[in-house]
Amino acid sequence: MTLVSHYDDLAEETGPAISPLKPGDDPDKIAVASQWQLIRARFFANKVAVVAGIIVLLFYFVGLFAEFLAPTIPSKAQPRFTYAPPQSLAFFVEDAEGNRRFQLHVKGYAMSVDPESLRRSFTIDPDKIVPVGFFVKGEPYKMWGVFEMERRLLGAINKRDPMNLLGTDSLGRDLLSRVIYGTRVSMSIGLIGVASSLIIGTVLGALSGFYGGWVDLSVQRLIEIISAMPTIPLWLGLAAAIPITWSPLKVYFVITLIVSLLAWTGLAREVRGRFFALKGEDFVTAATLDGSSQRRVIFRHILPSLTSHILAVVTLAIPTMIVAETALSFLGIGLKAPVVSWGVLLQDAQNIRTVATAPWLLIWPCLAVVVSVLSFNFLGDGLRDAADPYGH
């Protein structure tokens, strides 16, 4: 009997009950795999989390290249097409003889005026064809505020033709472009907010868990006070104090800060709990006996072994922040026009009459919020399950 087959037999009988690798895989690999390899293997086994992760990446991709992906600038009003319904992309046109020819296009609008209220309403006119192309020249813009560009991913070939794949709002602004630009603001608020609550949460949680005693007691009290406050009234109270005269950028950062001020408690709890658990581990004692300073023990030895847990908690905190920003902006005390975020877009859908005329103003921003929040939740759940590969 060779050594290898002996090893195989052993794995058959006493292998781990739930193995991150599939039964056919080589058990030698598990034995020598690093923690991160195990985490990765376990994460990728969870298909839902992987798909959610891809969707999250797509959202960030859209946010990163918003200028290029959006068909036009979000502030460009088209007074001729207010509350125009969404057009759908079609691929073939038929000419008079009935020959089908490939031509990417959307249908144009027909306008009718209500004789009583004199309100204009638009319907899709199947006879008007607006040719559409990729990489067409549209409104000039500055990519990332630096490079002058004109080409856009998708647009009407004739610049003056209307192309509004998701419809327009009360000023005739293209909703698709606004949702795409909103993605940048809404998604980045989650990221920046989480970064700042990560710092607060890790530092306080680590202090609390490492030192214990009165440090722990006072941090615990602070967390208790903050989590006892109903979040929305508190957010409202803090956000309402932002002076109207501030620049949009400043408001953006303050809102991010407010949102993260209340979100760090969960992270601090998690870090504290892990610190308590790890404090007594042999490798920490060994490091202390080796003469490592406390700072070195915390940052070099304990925190790195928490990284996967922190990552999971952080991913689960991002959707809360996205929702918080959306809610605040929706109520009119968060971000304000000309900044475009999903919450600012939903502000237009606040009254029932608008929603009844133009339901797309409610549907698309809502869909963006819900899909991104769901994806973050699934991704975070998957990360949390994978975070501790030695558990279970």
């Binding site: 009290r221 602070l222 208790e224 006070i225 989590s227 006892a228 406050m229 109903p230 979040t231 929305i232 009234p233 508190l234 409202l236 109270g237 803090l238 309402a240 104090a241 002076p243 959707p319 929702v323 959306t326 809610a327 929706f330 109520l331 009119g332 005390i333 939903l346 859908a349 606040q350 029932i352 929603v355 009844a356 339901p359 409610l362 809502c366 919020v369 819900v370 929040v373 769901l374 939740n377 699934f378």
Partner: protein, 328 residues
């Protein structure tokens, strides 16, 4: 038990003080003090305040003194005289404005809590007993959606659906003809017809999380030896589940008062703004936008205190139900 109750109440005091600090901090946030805004609004309407009157109010609220003294005057005013300050937007003392609204907030929150309990109990038990059945997967999916969809989006969507497909007026708590009408059965029925939307909207995320918790707890309990013993004794299946495991798994229902209540009050605030309910939410938002800070701060203070009391009640109930808690 008495010692435990006392300990819990004493521990609550620092948290309460912390919450009152936060509320006072929010009152102080906007630039200028309360009196400058009163004087500004009065001179806008052509009245000028007598300097003596200005001096009297300054002394009453201690506006020239350091912040900690002002805080002290504010909090003793509330504790000793029930004086929450003065709302300059409404021209009335805050205490006249808040109690109705806080009562409505409490009522809607309680209705939502009941909804959460009633809905999540059967679904949670079903999901735990029939794990991985189609029904379980459907409920899990709904649960995820319920957790992911923010309250106000759900409210907007239901409003749109109610308007478009049911032709129902969805704002407010009563139809116009019942507002101010004396209490009657018809009025109560009308209230129920309006209340279901906010209750569903506010309760959904709490229901979703409670179902998940109940499912996990009951699953853990069901695999314990005493359940096998009960089955081996020949108890009918429904008794096997109802007798012991369910009772133990029900603890989160009681502790839910503690952590669902802040969520519910948060939810009531924003949902009420969307649906225009006569609860604290719309008034709070209006006060904040108008920088009517004593009114806004009082609401925030009371909402915080309300959740604290909820947490206290849930802790005491838990201790009464589960001796393991009060003896540690």
């Amino acid at each position: 038990m008495f010692g435990y109750v006392l300990k819990r109440i004493v521990l609550m005091i620092p948290t309460m003080i912390g919450i009152s600090f936060i509320a006072f901090f929010i009152i102080q946030l906007p630039p200028g003090d309360y009196l400058t805004s009163v004087i500004a609004s009065m001179s806008d309407s052509g009245q000028d305040m007598h300097p003596d009157e200005v001096r009297r109010i300054r002394a009453l609220y201690g506006l020239d003194e350091p912040m900690i003294v002002q805080y002290f005057k504010w909090i003793t005013g509330i504790l000793l005289r029930g004086d929450f300050g003065y709302s300059f937007e409404w021209g009335r003392p805050v205490s006249e404005l808040i109690w109705d609204r806080m009562g409505a907030t409490l009522a809607v929150s309680m209705a939502s809590l009941l909804f959460v309990w009633i809905v999540s109990l059967p679904i949670g038990v079903y999901s735990a007993v029939r794990r991985h059945s189609i029904g379980d997967h459907v409920f899990t999916l709904f649960g995820f959606l319920g957790l992911a969809i923010p309250n106000f989006i759900l409210a907007l969507t239901l409003m749109y659906v109610g308007y478009k497909y049911m032709g129902q007026s969805v704002g407010g708590l009563y139809s116009p003809e019942f507002v101010g009408a004396p209490a009657s059965l018809a009025k109560f029925w009308d209230l129920l017809k309006h209340l279901w939307i906010p209750v569903v909207v506010i309760g959904t995320s709490g229901t979703a999380s409670l179902i998940r918790i109940l499912r996990a707890n009951l699953t853990d309990e069901l695999s314990k030896p005493y359940v096998i013993t009960a089955r081996a004794k020949g108890l009918p299946e429904h008794q096997v589940i109802m007798r012991y495991p369910l009772r133990i798994a029900l603890n989160p229902f009681v502790s839910a008062i503690g952590w669902v209540l802040p969520q519910l009050i948060s939810g009531v605030t924003i949902t009420a703004i969307v649906l225009n309910l006569p609860t604290a939410g719309p008034l709070l938002l209006r006060a904040l936008v108008a920088q009517d800070m004593y009114l806004a701060g009082s609401f925030i203070l009371l909402m915080g205190i309300l959740t604290l009391i909820g947490m206290l009640i849930s802790d005491l109930l838990l201790a009464a139900l589960d001796p393991r808690i009060r003896f540690t």
